[in-house]
């Protein structure tokens, strides 16, 4: 692949995934640090892009690089509460007591691995893909996902 076409393919990949990457960065970095994490994700994707061999789906590869970057980027503690302006940016996600607000609080309490399972599920990935991103079996993904969904559902019911 020539440099020009690599640049084009990378720019397209970044454009296709920009919202998903921003969502990930927000959940893995401190409130004032998520844009740094997002830039770090872009950088790692760029550095790894030439090595992408197409054996995995592009989306699986993108999430692998992004999540691994997020796990390394733990210089500052993750935010526990979103500021008001961020809540407004997220549209209807910030109404107190609504499922999205409960989800945000729930995610902030999970360890990074559990958070990854739930976040990838919310991103619409198949269980097989999640297993590929995390490097664990399909059964382990299913077990975790069931537990996480049950716990989240219980939390939502506690906050009608």
């Amino acid at each position: 692949m020539s440099q020009g076409s690599t640049d084009q393919a990378f720019a397209r990949m970044l454009s296709d995934n920009r919202a998903a990457l921003a969502r990930l960065a927000r959940r893995y970095a401190a409130r004032d640090d998520w844009q740094d994490l997002l830039q770090e994700m872009h950088l790692q994707l760029w550095r790894s892009f030439a090595g992408f061999d197409g054996r995995a789906q592009l989306s699986t590869w993108v999430y692998r690089v992004a999540l691994n970057t997020a796990l390394s980027h733990r210089r500052k503690p993750r935010r526990d509460h979103a500021p008001l302006e961020e809540i407004h940016e997220r549209g209807d996600a910030g109404v107190p007591g609504d499922p999205m607000s409960v989800l945000e609080a729930f995610l902030s309490e999970l360890d990074p691995i559990q958070r990854s399972v739930l976040v990838l599920d919310l991103e619409g990935m198949e269980r097989e893909q999640i297993a590929e991103v995390l490097g664990i079996s399909l059964g382990a993904v299913a077990t975790r996902m069931t537990r996480l969904r049950q716990a989240l559902e219980a939390r939502i019911q506690e906050n009608p």
């Binding site: 920009r18 921003a22 969502r23 950088l43 796990l71 549209g91 989800l103 360890d111 077990t143």
Partner: protein
Amino acid sequence: MMDWSKLRQQWQAEGVGASQSVPLEEVQRRDRSVRRRVKARDLIETVTAMLVAPAFVAIGWMLAGKGKWAAVGFCAFLVLWAAYVPIRLWQARRAMPSPNHELPMIDYLRQQRLAMIAQAEMLERIWIWYLAPCAVGVVGLSLSVSGPTRGVLIYSAIVLAFCALLGKANHYAARKQFRVHADHLETQIAGMTREETR
């Protein structure tokens, strides 16, 4: 009952309109900047050694003229040490597992753990290849030039104490920063593999 698909839709709608596109040039510029910083760090280490080594060559040359051969020997030792330090640092960095972000998360965590342990070991051994040779060289040079005078003994004690303090600080950083992180990663990996065996 929780509507999972609605929750997913709401999740995926976040930031779709708000996110700005990322100019490729910006990513490439950042990449170049990070690479430049790494090169600059290596250059500073080498230049420092290049400044230290000629200084001891000059001192050794001067002492050779006065026939102080033991002092010349210590100068030669310090020149070798100054030349060896950047090489040792370069070797240590090369031996360090470089992070491969494309790996599945569990393998990435294993790799990170190995990197943390390697980093800790490097700090724990710094006294062998950095502090001890420096202390021996400087103290030996002072004693061989002036003999065991009160001033030289006080100076030697300060040098040795400073080196011991740096060694302790590096041990502390290895334990508190890297060993703790490696243990934390091991717990995470164990958590992921425990699910496998259930």
